[in-house]
């Protein structure tokens, strides 16, 4: 058993109890990363060993002085590379930012550091979080710890693989259309995309500003609650962040599911859903039923419109958000150019990968005059209708239960050749972002090919408590799920 097989909360407890030093915890993470990175490639940047250990020392002193008492004090963490880390390369997995070192840290990162987190590195991701496989990264793909021939999902694939592969106890991811939940499903990790506005977006390199949320990727539900409690707060630097009535997520874990009303949308179990995924997810619903939840099927409706609405809105916002990457102020600039327009064109053509270019073009198109009403405005109206459908559902149910993705993790090099098919695989996750809802993803068993299957629990806005109740109850009944890499770590 290695320290990296512990959950973040367990490791934090041992550190506070002086059974383990912060240095030892950091060492364990660094060693695990050293042993596995050749095969996993979860990280874009691994922070210099000396710096990590110096930071561990600093945190240890604060713990000893009684200044740090939280559950995450001294626990190593990995940060997705689209979150600013002061003084550390923050590339968003893009060539255009492959020399960008920010001068300030994202609020979420700052909050973790204030709680005594020890950052060990920046994780791989799809370029600017655009992708569902982490294969669009300029730095090359990440492997799935359950099968290195498969993708870890995306866009937070590096964070999910690092957690599932026991390189770190937990990581931060970001979720614009499923980018936390889907890689968690593919890698057998647990993650939550909180209600929009719960975690500050300040310092997160924006993809779709109205959809982006930062959230935890961890080994279990308790960790997710503890991490979310640490990073969630209103932030005066992010005007879209909100002051919630309650941040006590951990408290709801053990409240049980007796009387909790769970709705299963029939629309999520139609064509295109792998039969094994279907069976595992429905089996999880049965577990919750046996724990005392009231489970029934219903028709959500409008599900087929979620993908087009999502991609129009996300790409429109992205096309504008990514305009600042122009070679003028920071980041990559083309070597050879005649004048300004050519500099812009060449810098951006060379600096962005094909998937990012595709989404910028799509987004620019739907915002251009003459098409705005036909596409963008229609997408906004569709979003409002989808939101109304969810509102209706939440009038009856506390939690909506369904799959995260239609299949288990696909093989490497099988997705990018058909982008439309890749987009369609986000069908169960994107509505959550469109409607600002919280969505939790946790494994619900392994398919016959040994790959994990993800269970998604969706709650009404600001009702993460219901998700934690259901997820924790299910997880207790399910038992642990370990990747071969985590097992390798345990057998060290």
């Amino acid at each position: 058993m290695s320290l990296m097989n512990l959950t973040a909360v367990e490791l934090g407890r041992k550190i506070r109890a002086k059974e383990v030093s912060v240095q030892e915890a950091a060492q364990a993470s660094l060693e695990s990363i050293d042993a596995k990175e050749d095969r996993l490639h979860s990280f874009i940047t691994r922070i210099d060993r000396k710096k990590v250990l110096a930071r561990a020392d600093e945190v240890q002193k604060k713990i000893d002085a009684g200044e740090l008492t939280g559950p995450l004090a001294g626990v190593p963490v990995a940060i997705k590379d689209n979150m600013n880390t002061k003084g550390v390369l923050t590339s968003a997995a893009s060539h255009i930012l492959d020399n960008f070192v920010p001068r300030f840290s994202a609020t979420a990162v700052e909050r973790l550091e204030q709680a005594g987190a020890v950052v060990v590195g920046k994780t791989n991701m799809d370029e600017f979080a655009m992708g569902s496989t982490t294969e669009t990264s300029y730095f090359g793909p990440t492997a799935n710890p359950f099968d290195t021939a498969r993708v870890p999902g995306g866009s937070s694939g590096g964070s999910a693989a690092a957690v599932s592969g026991a390189e770190v106890p937990y990581a931060l991811g970001s979720d614009t259309g499923g980018s936390i939940r889907q890689p968690c499903a593919y890698c057998g990790a647990t993650g939550i995309k909180p209600t929009y506005g719960t975690v500050s977006r300040y310092g997160l390199i924006a993809y779709g500003s109205s959809l982006d949320q930062i959230g935890p990727i961890a080994k279990d539900v308790s960790d997710c609650a503890a991490i979310l409690e640490t990073i969630a707060a209103p932030d005066e630097k992010d005007s879209t962040s909100v002051a919630r009535d309650s941040y006590a997520f951990t408290k709801s874990l053990t409240q049980g599911v007796k009387g909790l009303k769970i709705g299963i949308p029939r629309d999520y179990f139609g064509d295109g859903l792998d039969p094994e995924v279907r069976q595992k997810v429905l089996a999880a619903a049965d577990v919750l039923k046996s724990e005392g939840a009231i489970v029934e099927e219903f028709d959500l409706s409008l599900v087929q419109y979620a993908i087009p609405a999502y991609y129009l809105i996300a790409c429109a916002e992205a096309s504008s958000n990514l305009e600042r990457f122009d070679g003028v102020k920071y980041g990559y600039r083309t070597k050879d150019y005649e004048e300004l327009h050519q500099m812009y064109k060449k810098t951006r053509s060379e600096g962005f990968g094909p998937e990012v270019r595709r989404r910028i073009m799509l987004g620019s198109f739907v915002l251009s005059s003459g098409y705005y009403d036909a596409y963008y405005l229609k997408a906004l109206r569709t979003k409002a209708l989808i939101k109304a459908a969810f509102d209706k559902a939440f009038a009856r149910y506390d939690v909506i239960l369904g799959p995260v993705a239609p299949t288990t993790a696909p093989k490497m090099n099988s997705s990018l050749s058909d982008p439309l098919k890749m987009y369609l695989s986000d069908v169960y996750t994107v509505s959550v972002n469109l409607c600002c809802l919280p969505g939790l993803s946790l494994p619900c068993g392994l398919a016959s090919d040994g790959m994990p299957v993800g269970l998604q629990l969706i709650g009404d806005c600001f009702r993460e408590d219901n998700l934690f109740r259901a997820a924790y109850a299910y997880e207790q009944a399910r038992g642990p799920i370990m990747s071969p890499f985590a097992r390798e770590e345990a057998e060290k």
Binding site: A92, P102, Y202, S210, A316, D326, L340
Partner: protein
């Protein structure tokens, strides 16, 4: 020429006004002028990855105040939009502005031109951020960007195409300027760019129902240049139409030195700004209470002041008009007049010497630095005959430039008027004795010769002699 058609000019203005907030519209950086390049900047106003805008509420306060003063409807739920275009002075390559729900709409401003009243419609007022500044470095042969101005708050006031002459345009601009200055929302200096006007102009035959094709002229930075630009562009368009050609809808740059406008390069003008709602900023909900609060803080505007000055101080319409053109001048006038109790003399200092000195120093009325107390003290010094008028003019210059205390200054420099008849007579006798030729000239009928003797006397008295007494004594002695 009998076949010559009659044309009328149709003009609408887009006026950008830089608001007088201490900090920028979406970050805490200073809006102060004159800092070293890129010293008033932060991640937000330089478009760094991960930065987010946070609205400065004072910008909304000013925009509402200007909207109320120009009779606009205030949009109760207004929103920001992104205007996308690539240019290095625009760090995000989008400008946060307002398109779909501007803060103010449907207003009007009343102007008076050649004695007749006219109402100019305000289509909308919206809030937006200013861009940085590009500087070409010939030595490096490179362009440099200064983002100190990036994110400085602006409002854009868009008029209806209601104006028909440059006189109307200037009256409209002057009205806007005084109104906004009175509100304290901006100093509205055209030369420095805190007020900028783009002129949309078309011509049509008198009586035509349809508007002609319009052009937009940018880069006009004085009232004089605006009048030139309107005359020049009107003539250019009429000539095109007379030649059977068409006016092309385009943006043109007015070059006041060449007295002509030139089309701006079309590349920069490929206008598809791909506007869409700014997702980083929630809508601004403006309550009736908020509007009432701002309305209650409204100052007494120029027109009301002008009428009051005529009534209260017996000033002429002309004088009251000049004094109230600038809120700063008007306030200085009111305070000084109240202290010294001589509004007419106070008004004269502000209208004559102050205006002349402002011109000499190429300053705006808003820039005057002297205190009303010192002006009032000066008026008292002249009223009590403590100093003569030439000394007073000298002292006023010192007040204007350095805001000196005139009582102290006169005391320290020994500038008090000599009213002692005995002392004056002694000096004058000496002057008469020393200038027999002038005395002879005077006595021979050349009465002008007295001027020379007065001058000599003043010189001998170092300018402090009471000029009336000098004249009187001198005349008496010469007549003896």
């Amino acid at each position: 020429m009998s076949g010559m058609k009659q044309y009328e000019t149709v003009i609408g203005l887009e006026v950008h006004v830089e608001l007088a907030t201490k900090t920028k519209i979406f970050c805490g950086c200073s809006t102060a002028f004159g800092g070293a390049p890129n010293t008033h900047t932060c991640p937000v106003c330089t478009g760094m990855p991960g930065s987010l805008p946070v609205l400065n509420k004072q910008v909304v306060n000013y925009a509402i105040a200007v909207g109320l003063a120009t009779n606009c409807d205030i949009t109760r739920k207004c929103k920001f939009d992104r205007k996308n275009y690539f240019y290095p002075d625009n760090p995000q390559n989008y400008q946060i502005s307002q398109l779909y729900y501007p803060i103010c709409r449907n207003g009007h401003v009343d102007i008076t031109v050649n004695g007749s009243q006219k109402s100019v419609g305000i289509h909308e007022i919206h809030m937006e951020e200013d861009a940085g500044k590009l500087i070409h470095d010939n030595w490096l042969d490179a362009s440099l960007v200064d983002y100190n101005r990036s994110g400085v708050p602006l409002i854009e006031i868009v008029s209806e195409p209601d104006m028909r002459s440059s006189e109307e345009v200037i009256a409209y601009l002057e009205k806007l300027r005084t109104t906004i200055q009175y509100l304290g929302a901006s100093d509205c200096k055209l030369q420095e760019g805190s007020m900028r006007a783009d002129v949309n102009l078309s011509v049509r035959e008198v009586g035509a129902k349809q508007f002609g094709t319009r052009t937009e002229m940018k880069n006009i930075n004085s009232f004089k240049a605006i009048a030139h630009a309107i005359a020049g562009e009107t003539q250019r368009q009429i000539e095109l139409l007379e030649d059977g050609k068409k006016v092309i809808q385009e943006t043109r740059r007015w070059d006041d030195n060449k007295g002509a406008s030139f089309p701006m390069r079309s590349k920069e003008d490929a206008k598809d700004y791909r506007y869409f709602p700014e997702p980083d900023l929630p809508p601004i909900v403006i309550s009736q209470e908020w509007i009432d609060r701002i309305k209650s803080r409204e100052p007494e505007f120029k027109e009301e002041k002008q009428a009051r000055y005529q009534k209260e101080f017996g000033l002429t319409e002309y004088d009251a008009d000049i004094l109230t053109d600038s809120r700063k001048i008007a306030e200085t006038f009111e305070k000084a007049a109240a202290i010294c109790g001589n509004p007419k003399k106070t008004a004269n200092w502000l209208m004559d010497d102050t205006m002349r000195l402002l011109k000499d120093h190429s300053m705006d009325p808003e820039d005057i630095r002297f205190s009303p107390e010192h002006l009032a003290a000066l008026v008292k010094l002249t009223d009590s005959n403590t100093i003569n008028s030439s000394v007073a003019a000298e002292v006023f210059e010192k007040i204007f430039t350095d805001d000196i205390d005139p009582d102290k200054y006169v005391e320290e420099h020994g500038l008090k008027q000599v009213n002692d008849a005995g002392a004056l007579e002694e000096t004058i006798r000496g002057i008469v004795a020393a200038n027999p030729q002038s005395v002879a000239d005077y006595k021979a009928g050349k009465k002008k010769a007295i001027g020379f003797l007065v001058g000599q006397t003043m010189k001998a008295m170092k300018g402090k002699a009471n000029p009336g007494m000098v004249n009187q004594i001198l005349t008496r002695l010469l007549e003896e």
